[in-house]
């Protein structure tokens, strides 16, 4: 099979699937109308975001690539969890223990990069007095 190339949407759409496993080519209005599509059929798969990260890296933007890889990790978490992680990292919201717990939760869900980001924040929040 040929390598997937950017832009993915202009290639063979049957080769890109949502998190649910439903192929992009099989996400149709008729399916939606029939009530056969759920929210998770519209959720990007982490593997796709990793692919986009590779494209970004090849284009010379490692920071964007890193962001997309963190996104790939968060893709598997529920909306409410994602919103909760963000809130927890805002200044004065969390104690040191709470940030450690968030990092552990992220790591447990396979989100190592995000966990590392939280741990790094903890270090600087401690230095600058930003624990809540």
């Amino acid at each position: 099979m040929a390598e997937l190339t950017y832009p993915l949407g202009e290639g063979d759409r049957s080769r890109i699937a949502a998190q649910s496993g439903r192929k992009a080519s099989q996400l149709t209005v008729a399916d939606v109308r029939a009530g056969a599509v759920s929210a998770v059929d519209a959720r990007v798969d982490p593997s796709t975001l990793h692919l986009q990260a590779t494209f970004a890296e090849q284009a010379g933007n490692p920071q964007l690539a890193e962001n997309l890889r963190r996104g790939a990790e968060l893709a598997l978490f529920a909306d409410d969890d994602v919103l909760r992680f963000y809130d927890a990292l805002r200044p004065g919201r969390s104690s040191e223990q709470e940030l450690l717990a968030i990092a552990a939760e992220l790591a447990a869900g396979g989100a190592d990069r995000c966990a590392a980001l939280v741990l790094e924040a903890r270090e600087h929040y401690a230095r600058r007095g930003l624990f809540g």
Binding site: V32, R33, A42, V44, R70, D87, L89
Partner: protein
């Protein structure tokens, strides 16, 4: 004469000008009121130890604030830093401007630079050099443009109709916001529906508080986000309720759902928050943009933004704002280039702010052109608004830069607006959110703004917004409702925007969808400008489109007013004109097409009436008159002089078909005259009559007071010159050699 306060009348006049409503301030570095090079800006420096950045711009690692710390860990490329920081400032500035140095090489060096270094280098660039650098450095080759689509009552059908108009005009990103936060989900939904009617692929966002904005995105009701604010000092960053780490995680949250996102910053924000730390605006913005890149945002909205009026109040403020846009490009980021907040009461000044960017080009020329009337703009007036659209389109036509927009008439827009409003109404009805009458749909379709629809906000919109959240409605529900109600095209396009999340192509730098749903980004459409003959150039078809504006009048249209009054006078040639048959006469010389192909003067009088008044004036003075047609020239001086040489008194009155008139005398040089009324649009019947009388008095050797035109400051060229060209072409076509002809005039009753 002085005014009561002792001021001159000229000074008093200046105080009435719109520019005098702008309040400007002297530089005050302590408050951060300085565009470039504050005395408090740090000296650029970098120190790398074991591959780690341990000093930035004079601050050692132990003293790093949050911004320094994040830049050290994620932003500055330690492998390039020593090389980049060693480049002389002027040499660096030349690398940025030179078309011989590739964009990617500049991005590489900027990646190893500190904010103080970049700010100092950019301070060296003149406005022209900034523009030249932008043409090279922006990421996407094809420029694009974003619209504000809002209204003061959050009317969803009007949002949908205005979204359709915006897309028809060429906007590829639509940004909305709400005066009432609870309305946000409803307005976002209406915008999404309206945006996909005229063409697929426009991206939509709803700018509200960070968490709510993210929630709307997660539900698929928006397709990108922009209000992810970062600031140049730690204090203001914290006041904004974020840190670089929370912002980075927020960026990843958007990525996790396949949503496009860009950060936003812009000078003046730190000053307004009273915590600029005495630094220059450009230095603080360099910190913002560096953080934006470091956090992994693909792009940024900057160039003043909400603080633009502060930036505009100090010397060199507009050059600073332009430099901010270049900053984004230097960091390899998508530039959504401001111009979204009106920065002056002066039309001339606000145009001057935006024009350099338009000429240079950007990923997004505006991060919010107000596509709706200023009173409906919930962000506040943009620098350009619906009221200015035709001006914008004509300026685009004048310069031939890619301004992205096109002219649309009602025949194009009204069906699109109706379809959008009806689709939105159907969805709101199907989802049992709100109901609207046919009458309300029609009002939205035809409205200029919300005042044409309804006076007040209704509680219903807020309740519908609540319901969208409580019932967890998503883009999938919108697709289903559209399909059920027969809006198949919109259903497919909204679903396609959802499908695109599965691909994530629009997460790459500077990505937009064109009207054929091709993704244009730094990867598929990289800017390759390297001097003349390279980079983006409008296609032939696009140039023709840009030339089509509402104000264009064809040759035929310009001449259409002539035909209805054709034959208003009959002028019959009676052979070559006699020379000086009697001393007490004035000869009236008329131009080749006068009363032949040209029947209406520029003032709206028929040539019959103009000639009748002239002859009546001569007669009132008891002098004889004779009409001759000069056929060998269309020049009014030559016509009058030729007639004067036939006149027994030596005095003649010359007239062109467009109405310009003069009094000439045979002994004067051809290009001289006794009296000239050159502004034909201002010559009324009374003045033609007075010209006749004055010609007669000159014939008698008197020296009458010249006929004066009414005072007018209007520039007549823009309004009349196209018509003059059309009429002159008719005169020219009737030129033939030979002597002047005696003409007999009859006025059909």
């Amino acid at each position: 004469m002085a005014t009561p306060s002792g001021k001159s009348l000229r000074s008093a006049f200046y105080e009435t000008r719109s520019i005098s409503r702008d309040v400007l301030v002297p530089e005050d570095p302590a408050l951060g009121l300085i565009a470039f090079a504050s005395p408090n800006d740090p000296e650029p420096s970098i120190r790398i130890a074991a591959g780690r950045v341990v000093e930035i711009d004079g601050v050692a690692e132990a003293d790093f604030d949050l911004i320094d710390a994040y830049l050290a860990a994620h932003g500055i490329d330690a492998a390039v830093a020593e090389e980049a920081m060693a480049i002389d400032d002027v040499a660096f500035a030349r690398l940025i401007v030179s078309t011989a140095v590739p964009r990617q090489e500049v991005v590489r060096l900027v990646g190893g630079s500190t904010p103080a270094k970049i700010a100092r280098v950019l301070g060296l660039l003149s406005p022209l050099e900034l523009m030249q650098a932008m043409a090279k450095m922006r990421v996407r080759r094809t420029p694009s443009i974003q619209a504000h689509v809002t209204n003061r009552i959050d009317h969803p059908l009007l949002i949908a109709a205005d979204a359709a108009s915006a897309v028809a005009l060429g906007f590829r990103e639509l940004e909305t916001t709400v005066p009432v936060l609870r309305d946000a989900p409803l307005v976002a939904l209406a915008l999404l529906i309206g945006s996909q009617g005229p063409a697929p692929g426009a991206l939509t966002q709803c700018s509200v508080e960070e968490r709510t904005e993210l929630e709307l995105g997660l539900r698929g009701l928006t397709t990108y986000a922009e209000t992810v604010s970062v600031y140049g000092t730690e204090q203001v960053f914290l006041d904004g309720d974020d840190t670089p780490w929370s912002k980075a995680l927020l960026a990843s949250s958007y990525a996790s759902r396949g949503l496009k996102m860009r950060f936003t910053s812009g000078s003046g924000a730190e000053v307004l928050m009273g915590a600029a730390e005495g630094k220059s605006m450009l230095y603080l913005e360099a910190r913002c943009v560096a953080i934006t890149r470091a956090a992994g945002s693909q792009g940024t909205q900057n160039g003043g933004i909400d603080g633009i009026s502060v930036t505009a109040s100090v010397p060199n403020g507009m050059r600073e704002a332009l430099a901010e846009n270049l900053l984004a490009m230097l960091y390899g980021l998508e530039s959504c280039s401001g111009n979204d907040t009106q920065m002056s009461a002066s039309d001339m000044r606000r145009t001057a702010h935006t024009l350099p960017l338009l000429l240079a080009g950007s990923d997004f020329l505006f991060s919010g052109y107000g596509s709706i009337p200023t009173y409906d703009n919930s962000f506040g007036p943009s620098n350009f608004n619906a009221e200015d659209l035709d001006d914008y389109l004509v300026i685009q036509r004048d310069w031939g830069f890619e301004g992205v927009l096109r002219s649309c008439d009602d025949a194009t827009l009204l069906p699109l607006r109706r379809r959008a409003a009806e689709a939105c109404r159907a969805v709101l009805d199907e989802l049992e959110l709100m109901r609207f009458s046919d009458d309300e749909v029609e009002r939205c379709v035809h409205a200029h703004g919300s005042l044409d629809v309804a006076e007040h906000q209704t509680e219903e919109t807020a309740r519908a917004g609540d319901a969208i959240i409580e019932r967890e409605l998503t883009a999938i529900d919108v697709v289903r409702a559209l399909a059920v109600r027969g809006f198949d095209v919109e259903a497919e396009r909204v679903l396609e925007m959802t499908r695109q999340r599965l691909f994530g192509d629009h997460l790459q730098t500077s990505a937009i969808f064109d009207e054929d749903m091709h993704v244009l980004s730094g990867l598929t459409d990289p800017n390759d400008y390297a001097g003349p003959g390279t980079g983006y150039r409008p296609s032939r078809a696009r140039k023709l489109e840009m030339a089509q504006v509402r104000q264009v009048r064809s040759h035929d249209e310009l001449l259409a007013e002539q035909a209805p009054v054709a034959g208003c006078i009959q002028l019959s040639d009676r052979g070559p004109a006699e020379a000086r048959p009697r001393p007490d006469e004035v000869v009236v010389g008329i131009s080749p097409a006068f009363g032949v192909d040209v029947w209406l003067t520029l003032s709206g009088l028929t040539v019959a009436e103009a000639l009748r008044q002239v002859l009546a004036g001569i007669e009132e003075e008891g002098v004889a008159a004779r009409i001759v047609r000069v056929t060998h020239s269309i020049d009014l001086g030559m016509i009058g002089w030729t007639a004067a040489n036939l006149s027994g008194s030596g005095v003649a009155l010359g007239m062109q078909g467009k109405g310009t008139a003069l009094i000439h005398r045979a002994d004067l040089p051809v290009l001289s005259n006794l009296e000239l009324l050159s502004v034909a649009p201002l010559i009324d019947g009374a003045r033609y009559r007075l010209m006749g009388r004055n010609a007669a008095r000159h014939a008698r050797g008197e020296q009458p007071a010249p006929v004066l035109l009414p005072e007018s400051g209007e520039a007549f060229g823009p309004r009349y010159h196209a018509k003059v060209v059309a009429l002159v072409a008719r005169e020219r076509a009737r030129v033939r050699p030979g002597p002047p002809q005696t003409v007999e005039a009859t006025w059909p009753s």
